[in-house]
């Protein structure tokens, strides 16, 4: 059973997620090898079909929906290799997960980052976001 950690906007990657996301993460890690990167680029669906992932996980990868990948057991250090393979920076990935544009996100970081005020518990997070 999944635990509830009461940290908003966060997917705590525990043993349960690790099991659910095992093949999604192993697929992502496979992109560290140049030959696999090439094969994935040539035909994403064909390459994904070789891994024992769920259809939902495959669709999340095709859509580059990182929050969805995390929800389905992805770990950020693994699935970010998909972004690296796309030639995207980590800051781009972070921005997409927050729903901000990359320039807005970069500007937020230059100004000191996201404040923890209102972001500590799910209750206060919901209140701040209205």
């Amino acid at each position: 059973m999944a635990e509830d950690y009461d940290i908003p906007g966060t997917y705590v990657f525990d043993a349960d997620a690790s099991r659910r996301g095992f093949w999604l993460n192993q697929f992502a890690m496979s992109l560290m090898k140049p030959e696999n990167r090439e094969r994935f680029k040539a035909d994403e669906r064909a390459y994904l079909a070789e891994w024992q992932m769920t259809d939902e996980q495959r669709e999340a990868v095709i859509a580059r929906d990182y929050n969805r990948m995390l929800e389905l057991g992805g770990n950020i250090f693994f699935v970010s290799k998909i972004g690296a393979n796309d030639g995207k920076s980590f800051q781009f990935l972070a921005a997409t997960m927050t729903g901000m544009t990359q320039p807005d996100y970069a500007e937020m970081m230059l100004k000191g980052g996201r404040s923890p005020v209102g972001a500590r518990t799910k209750e206060e997070w919901e209140m701040h976001r209205g």
């Binding site: 966060t10 997917y11 929050n67 995390l70 950020i76 980590f90 937020m108």
Partner: protein
């Protein structure tokens, strides 16, 4: 006898490694970060440690999810820089002091810290970025390195208290080594950052600066904090700060801070750095 003369803590942001490798260190965005390490580079070049015990975490480079070891001690003779998807960083191969590492392994396990011993692994930015920040871009690293990798990717990582106590066991292990060795210990990772999910971008400068104060004056308070508090206050990935407590646990109760530096941001992360004299 071997002894630990100093502890160093630093963030290990991958973008810092990329900035070094791509020659961007003088650019306005990066220059203040690298200036923050100039004093420390000069200091460590004069201090000339024989060995660094480097506490870091692997980021899905050497370890997949097939096995998730909590504490790893690298006991091979050398470790190659990992290919993290863009080709390996152009940095020297990391050379161990394997006799010393074997002694540490034996001492720690007999002291009831059940380390996973690894004779083959590549080392990623978690280890190589701190090396570049402290030693620059030499053809060979001027020091031997014993890698100590901690699981912080899969929850739960070891507790802050467990990390602090591992540091104390490392000190006992070092001091029971008969050869005269000048040892330093690096704790890396942090400071506040969250790089995933809708809460990405979290930075907590107040927490980080208090952490730096307490690291010097009262690390017991940091050892008592829960994972939940670390993740909530300094980001899900900011929990890496527990690795700084391994470094601190290996030092005297009273230490002298020689250098302290804090900067926001490097990419998505708050950069923190401290040098603690263990005289």
């Amino acid at each position: 006898m071997a002894r630990i003369t100093a502890g160093v803590a630093t963030s290990h942001v991958p973008a810092i490694g990329a900035a070094i490798d791509l020659g961007k260190t003088k650019e306005p965005y990066w220059a203040p970060i690298f200036e923050g390490y100039e004093w420390s580079k000069t200091w460590i070049a004069e201090e000339k440690p024989d060995v660094v015990i480097l506490v870091y975490n692997d980021h899905a480079s050497a370890f997949s999810l097939e096995m998730i070891p909590t504490f790893v001690l690298g006991t091979a003779a050398e470790f190659k820089p990992a290919d993290e998807g863009w080709g390996p960083r152009p940095v020297p191969v990391v050379k161990n002091d394997p006799e010393f590492a074997a002694h540490l392994a034996q001492s720690l396990v007999l002291d009831e810290f059940d380390m996973t011993l690894v004779n083959k692994m590549d080392v990623d930015h978690g280890l190589t970025v701190p090396m570049s920040l402290m030693f620059g871009q030499p053809d060979e690293w001027p020091v031997k390195v014993v890698p100590l990798a901690v699981n912080v990717l899969q929850y739960p990582p070891p507790t802050a208290r467990r990390c602090f106590n591992l540091g104390k066991a490392i000190r006992r292990a070092v001091e029971s080594y008969p050869k005269d060795l000048k040892v330093m210990i690096f704790g890396t990772g942090g400071m506040s950052h969250q790089i995933h999910g809708p809460r990405a971008g979290l930075i907590n400068a107040e927490f980080d600066n208090k952490f730096l104060d307490l690291l010097v004056e009262d690390p017991e308070q940091l050892a008592a904090k829960s994972h939940l508090e670390y993740m909530r206050e300094c980001g899900a990935e900011g929990v890496e700060l527990i690795m700084w407590l391994i470094m601190r646990g290996a030092l005297n109760d009273h230490v002298t801070p020689l250098r302290r530096f804090y900067h926001v941001p490097a990419s998505n992360t708050a950069v923190g750095h401290i040098v603690l004299d263990n005289a």
